[in-house]
């Protein structure tokens, strides 16, 4: 009798759970699960533009088409490069900021708030502002570099094939650095300060502190944050779409933008779905790692 008594009154009424969960679950199934499943299926069928009905089974036709599509290959390469560079920069700059903010000094709270501004500013505003700063005629970046003598003539940062992707990477990293910094800072503040004292008493240096206390303390959160940022950065659409639309000459094309343009500018929805499926497969690697890692730690 006793163990049964111990069960919460709430938990015994599991039928309520279904009543509470069903509306939300239904909505999520309709707007996420169904579109995902149908999206995957549609990559194997032909279909008239903007119609709900599949015409006939196409097998791997769209996937084979993609192998010969240079823009597609480039977009996947760019996406991987973009994600790797942006996440790496975000993490290391974010960590540096977190370590600085973890020191004890006056005005720390104000700095912490100010640091967050790039993360708070809406993507559309950030993209437009950077576009203006990168402007080839009157952009402030050219003007400053010119004054400092780094360049002798204006560079069209977003308009040349060699710089466009890198220019957007800077914006993307800038925007997400605060998130990494604040998440790491929150974790650093939970590290037992007594441990640092212990290292000092044992005659350890700052490097020892970092290697044996800071690093183990932030290892778990670093892995989850990097995995999340990898997924988010890979799926990012707004910045590239607004700043370059994948151009010039597809040089900054990334997979999400190419999927979107294939579907809504070139009206090849099934081919777009195939590109989306490839992205889904790529993103599922960090996604599975993330879920696996979270479960293990629980």
């Amino acid at each position: 009798m006793k163990p049964k008594r111990k069960r919460s009154v709430l938990q015994s009424k599991s039928r309520y759970a279904y009543i509470l969960i069903t509306p939300g679950l239904l909505l999520i199934s309709l707007i996420m699960i169904y579109p995902l499943v149908r999206g995957v299926i549609s990559s194997f069928f032909t279909q008239k533009a903007a119609s709900m009905h599949f015409e006939k089974f196409a097998g791997l036709r769209y996937y084979i088409e993609l192998i010969g599509d240079k823009t597609f290959i480039l977009s996947i390469k760019n996406s991987i490069l973009y994600t790797f560079v942006v996440v790496a920069v975000q993490y290391f700059v974010g960590l540096a900021i977190a370590l600085l903010l973890n020191k004890n000094f006056k005005g720390r709270g104000i700095y912490r708030s100010l640091i967050l501004i790039p993360w708070v500013v809406p993507g559309i505003s950030a993209a437009m502002t950077w576009k203006w700063m990168y402007d080839s005629q009157n952009g402030i970046i050219n003007q400053i570099l010119m004054k400092l003598g780094f360049i002798t003539e204006n560079i069209d940062w977003l308009g040349s094939q060699s710089t466009a992707l890198w220019a957007v990477m800077v914006t993307s990293a800038w925007k997400a650095i605060p998130f990494v910094a604040i998440v790491l800072l929150a974790t650093l503040q939970q590290v037992d300060q007594g441990l640092y004292e212990a290292v000092k008493i044992d005659g350890g240096t700052i490097l020892h502190e970092f290697r044996y206390i800071t690093l183990p303390g932030i290892k778990k959160i670093s892995i989850t944050t990097i995995l999340l940022e990898t997924i988010w950065t890979y799926n990012q659409f707004d910045l590239i779409f607004i700043m370059t639309k994948g151009g010039p000459a597809n040089s900054s094309m990334i997979a999400p933008v190419y999927t979107y343009l294939t579907s809504f500018s070139f009206f090849k929805m099934n081919k777009a779905a195939a590109i989306g499926v490839i992205s889904l497969i790529i993103v599922s690697i960090p996604a599975i790692l993330y879920i696996h890692y979270n479960k293990k730690e629980d």
Binding site: K13, A17, I31, P35, F237
Partner: protein
Amino acid sequence: MNKKRKIIIDKSFTYFAITVITALLNFPFLWMLTTSLKDSVEMFSANPTFLPKDLTFTNYIALLKEYKFFTYFKNSVIVSISTTLVALLFATFMAYGISRFKFRGKNVISSSLILTQMFPLPLIIITIYVTFVKLGLFDTRLGLVIAYCTFALPFCTMMLRSYFDGLPVELEEAAAIDGCGPFSTIFRIVIPLASPSIVAMGLFAFILSWQELMMSMTLVHSTALRTMPVAITMMVGVRNIMWGPLMAASVIVSIPVVILFIYFQKYLISGMTMGAVKG
């Protein structure tokens, strides 16, 4: 003596480094703000100053008069607030259900909630588009609100769930023994108790919908229903970009978000750290 000196050097380095980093991170936002307050002569000057020499609001006036920006602002407000309310309503019930009850499929549901946040949106939106055209939800505000639940609902549910997990169950049990059904328990006890987190999640949902571009651009076509991010994207012409009004518009989109952030900073920071830690 030596030790004291070392501390001073260390402190000055910290201040110097953090000040430089903060200035660099904030420069674009401030540059957007000051550009929007400059006239076109100053904006395109070869020797730009950081602050405008003559403060002018012409860009903002042009935005209202020539670009009919008030309509877009109004549309964004309506859609974002509606999304927030709908998402919170569904999310509170769902999060509470997952947090408090044991039932079959609970783990599957929790995992899929996290997974939905990782779906490539362009893949999802293809089907949403054709389905909405079929159902008559294309080019309506209701359609946009429903579509925005794709990111707002799973996110709010996950976050609220981890918050509910941390709340003590005793009060709710007492209420249940006194004969409160689950719905009145939620309204009388859980919502008042959890209101700070619910507000924080609402803010997240609002901020996300407020700046959403891809869905709005795809699912709404008429000018009268256009939201601000789409309107701003469309201000960029083929050759001539009107940077003044464009920066003014960017400021207008940013201001509500920045104000909300400053005001509710504590909740938002705990929300974002919680999200990363717990998933």
